[in-house]
């Protein structure tokens, strides 16, 4: 069975790493690298849609 992380305001954000496109380059992003900064995660349905 799949174990789901509890998403709750006031609780730690689940860490992840993902391939990314950033200003002309392919790179890799880890959420944990953004400690000491404010982060907005912005999920959307798909490229070429309005987000």
């Amino acid at each position: 069975m799949e174990v789901r992380t509890m998403i709750k305001a006031g609780k730690p954000a689940p860490d992840f790493s993902a391939p990314a496109y950033y200003q002309g380059r392919f790179t890799h992003v880890e959420l944990s690298r953004y400690r000491e900064q404010w982060v907005v995660l912005y999920f959307y349905g798909g490229d070429y849609t309005f987000v």
Binding site: A20, Y21, Y22, E36, Y42, F43
Partner: protein, 135 residues
């Protein structure tokens, strides 16, 4: 700011070059993450199994890695960027005050904040009124 969808980084690249750069000079200034199969979307409970894409989920994470707030919308209505910025301003003010100052409903940058204290109980009405906050 990190954006995420189930699309590959290759599609992100072409979308940025062919369309987004026409809306934002130089293209988007933040990393566009690929979430194939909605793995991260599932972790954040925004993955729609029926359509196999992520919903419009927005999460505000503080410098300690704690989720301070989130919003999830279906695919039919877009978000308010102003509201996301307002929330970050508010969370930053509260954090800088070491949680000695809170922001009431409809607060905007520049407005007064509340300092929770026993004396404030029952007297918020003297400082905060719905019409005033909408000015």
């Amino acid at each position: 700011m990190l954006s995420l969808s189930v699309d590959s980084v290759y599609v992100h690249k072409v979308w940025n070059e062919s369309e987004l750069s026409k809306m934002v000079p130089g293209g988007v200034p933040f990393p566009m993450l690929s979430d194939p199969g909605g793995k991260i979307g599932r972790e954040y409970n925004v993955y729609n199994e029926d359509t196999a894409v992520d919903l419009r989920g927005t999460f505000i994470i503080d410098p300690d890695g704690v989720i301070q707030g989130y919003q999830v919308l279906t695919s039919v209505v877009g978000r308010s960027t102003d509201e996301i910025i307002r929330l970050i301003h508010a969370f930053q003010i509260v954090r800088e005050s070491k949680e000695k100052e809170f922001t009431p409903a409809d607060w905007k940058p520049g407005m007064m904040v509340l300092k929770p204290a026993v004396e404030l109980v029952g007297r918020v009405w003297e400082m905060w009124k719905p019409d005033r906050s909408r000015e």
